[in-house]
Amino acid sequence: MPVYIYLVIFAIAVAYSFNPVSTVAVAASSITFGLPLAMAAMVGIMCERTGVVNIGIEGTLLTSSFFGFFVAALSQNLIWGLLAAIASGAVTGLLLALLTVSWKMDQIIAGTIVNILATGLTSFFYKQGYSLPAIFPRWSIPGLSEIPFLGRVFFQSGPITYFGLILIFVLYFAIYRTPWGLRTRAVGEYPSSAETSGISVLKLKYTNVIIAGAFGGLTGAYLTLELVGSFDRGFSAGKGFTALAIMIFGRWNPIGALLAAIFFGFAQALANQLMIDGLVNIPGPFINMLPYVLTIVVLAFSAGKVRGPAAAGQPYEREQA
């Protein structure tokens, strides 16, 4: 792995020496485009690590963007919007947990229900003509933001970006180093081993799926309140599904998924920049296709080769009769 990192640093350095402006722009956009995908992938990771396949991430993103936008627009307060987004995301998590953990419904169907419900409700209640008071401003971190290249790429971002990045690292350490993570992984791999060790499988599944939903809500807030500043029908545009591909590409590891997401973001940022610089002439729709094409390619090449949590997708029944 380190070899790749050196190669990437070398490539950036070369690009920077030829065209510093474009290089910085591409790198910064990679983070901007990649971050929501990375955060959405965390939703998938937290759920699958506990044995719940979540294809309802898309619905969570859509629901939370919707509530984030309209609560912020109606109250003319971004913080209320942020809180509403997180809470509504958690509610979609609760719904998924109810369907899959308590009622033991097929997890793919349960996720589809979340998605359809989100699409239907947000379309039905959508009204034109509302706007946000502002979007979350960029915070330049004193000192750090002055560093050439890195300063612009990492330390001149909005608050949710910082918070999201920190949470991804927190999640990484939590999964691999804490009792919670050990128990979560045990439940995702072999729930009856956890049960016989005195761990409540149902409780842990509920907790994790709801927290994951809240994380998805934060992602929705990022999209509408920090990145775009508006909301439209079908606003999430498949990011929740792309996030699943990123989760697999990153092997259910938060850091892996973050790198994978930045790679996706980079592909899009690069294509954009090439077009802006007039170096290539690709019609816009093709550029916009890029994340979806990459998703297909990544899944085609990694499917079957990587191994996810063994018990993901299976409802857990106690041996009770």
């Binding site: 350490f173 180093r177 804490t178 009792p179 081993s193």
Partner: protein, 502 residues
């Protein structure tokens, strides 16, 4: 000695079936009690009730004289009861240490203190003489070692009563002997032990006291000194049982099944069968002895056309058979009693009658043109249900309504009621009661005497030795030896199974 566990008048039923009927027994500190009984006698239900995984309908459980609340697993664990499960409760992708500390992790701030945990595991494994590498990943360990981890996991919680559920089912004879020493050592340290088993030999070697269960009731309590194997078997089954299989001399003819240089991958794409040559002659039973997971499953599946053959060929009566084409292999005259009858042997949502013609539904007389002949299907079913003593109310009942033994009889009835040259029987008596085992053994010998070549794969070494005419020992994906069953010696075969050189 002090009474550790006391079970009083325990009753537990599932619907109309009474699994445990008014059971009472005791275990003292330092005592090894064997719970002996057939499959379905209620042993597992009983210990699950003791462990709090099930709620008994009636009865009381006392640990150290203190009454336990029904269904309170955490309370039972806190009172010092541990269980070594038959299907290990270990997470395959995690390390030994992680598995042992799961649920009770030593902490350093909010993080797990893995160094300290590893030291604890090391200390524990030295104290009880159970050698294991704390950093090893479970799925890389042999089954015997995994069981050691399972035992250590139980011991890490400071147990005074340890329950073993069918502990030797997956072990080689040598590993079994080691386990017996381990259990005796634990008892000498004052731990009370309950061993659930249906293997008479182990009961005789291990137990201080034997509690025999039949149909949910305690039918007797005895000690190995006061009883013997056939006496225990009689108590267990309720009638006298022939432990020895009665069979005539084999009259082997020409080779009907030849396997040449066969190489097969397992599900993880690792080579599981590493160049096997075999010949089964008509009128003989060739038994394959081996610890499970040494390539037997892959070998059987490759022979029957269910798994890709990487190299080599399989000939039936001299003719090569098609790879990955189970129907064609069946047409060539190979009948197959699969290891996993639920998955490969039956469609449990179909009727017994349909299951009895699963591989010939499209042939005369069960089909007429494009349509099925329900009359012929019914007649065939009624005939076979009678002939093979399948215990059911009707042949139209769903296969899922049958007990394990009767399901197996359906599979055997279907496979043996056709013209066959080769019978491949994988674990034919697994999960089957003693009465059905006797019947199934007779059917296998009858197939042999009618001139079929029988390839028998079983994890039960006793079954292999008593049924086979020749025994091939499989270890690490290879046939390491073929011996005549007349010269078979348990210990010798056990060493070969474990991969030891002579």
């Amino acid at each position: 000695m002090a009474t550790l566990l006391q079970v009083k008048n325990l009753t537990k039923s599932f619907g109309s079936v009474i699994a445990n009927n008014d059971i009472s027994f005791e275990v003292d500190a330092g005592e090894i009690v064997a719970l002996l009984g057939e499959n379905g006698a209620g042993k597992s239900t009983l210990v699950k009730s003791v462990f709090g995984l099930l709620r008994p309908d009636q009865g009381e459980i006392y640990i150290d004289g203190k009454q336990m609340a029904p269904g309170d697993t955490a309370g039972v664990i806190a009172s010092g009861v541990g269980m070594v499960h038959q299907h290990f409760k270990l997470v395959p992708v995690m390390s030994v240490t992680e598995n042992i500390i799961l649920g009770d992790e030593p902490k350093n701030g909010i993080f797990i203190n893995i160094k300290k945990a590893e030291q604890t595991v090391r200390a524990l494994s030295e104290k009880f003489g159970l050698e294991v590498d704390p950093t090893a990943i479970i799925e890389d360990l042999p089954v015997g070692t995994q069981q050691r981890v399972e035992i250590l996991k139980a011991l890490s919680k400071d147990v005074r009563l340890l329950i073993f559920d069918e502990p030797t089912a997956v072990l080689t004879p040598q590993e079994t002997d080691e386990l017996i020493l381990v259990i005796k050592n634990l008892a000498s340290l004052g731990v009370g032990v309950i061993v659930i088993t249906h293997k008479l030999r182990e009961v005789m070697a291990l137990a201080d006291r034997v509690v025999v269960l039949r149909e949910g009731k305690v039918v007797g309590t005895t000690t190995p000194k006061e009883s013997n194997e056939s006496g225990l078997a009689q108590m267990m089954v309720g009638r006298s049982v022939v432990l020895e299989v009665d069979k005539g001399v084999a009259r082997p003819g020409k080779a009907v099944l030849s396997v040449k240089g066969l190489e097969v991958f397992d599900d993880r794409k690792l080579l599981a069968v590493k160049g096997v040559d075999l010949e089964v002659r008509s009128g003989e039973i060739l038994g394959i002895a081996g610890v499970e997971g040494n390539g037997q499953r892959e070998l059987v599946e490759a022979i029957c056309g269910m798994r890709m053959r990487e190299k080599g060929e399989v000939l039936v009566s001299g003719l090569p058979t098609k790879d990955m084409h189970p129907h064609a292999v069946h047409e060539a005259g190979v009948s197959h009693i699969p290891e996993d009858r639920e998955k490969h042997g039956l469609v449990s949502s179909y009727s017994i009658a349909d299951n009895l013609i699963l591989n010939q539904f499209d042939q005369e007389p069960f089909a007429r043109g494009w349509f099925r002949n329900m009359g012929a299907t019914r007649e065939n079913a009624n005939l076979l249900v009678k002939k093979f003593d399948i215990r059911t109310t009707s042949a139209a009942a769903l296969a899922s309504s049958l007990s394990g033994g009767n399901k197996q009889k359906v599979v055997i009835a279907r496979e043996l009621s056709q013209d066959l040259q080769v019978l491949v029987a994988a674990q034919p008596t697994r999960g089957v009661d003693v009465g059905s085992i006797e019947f199934i053994h007779k059917q296998l010998i009858a197939a042999r005497d009618k001139g079929a070549g029988v390839l028998l794969v079983s994890a039960e070494l006793d079954e292999i030795i008593s049924l086979s005419d020749r025994i091939a020992v499989m270890s690490g994906g290879k046939i390491v030896a073929i011996v005549d069953s007349k010269d078979a010696d348990r210990n010798h075969i056990g060493r070969l199974m474990a991969g030891l050189k002579e």
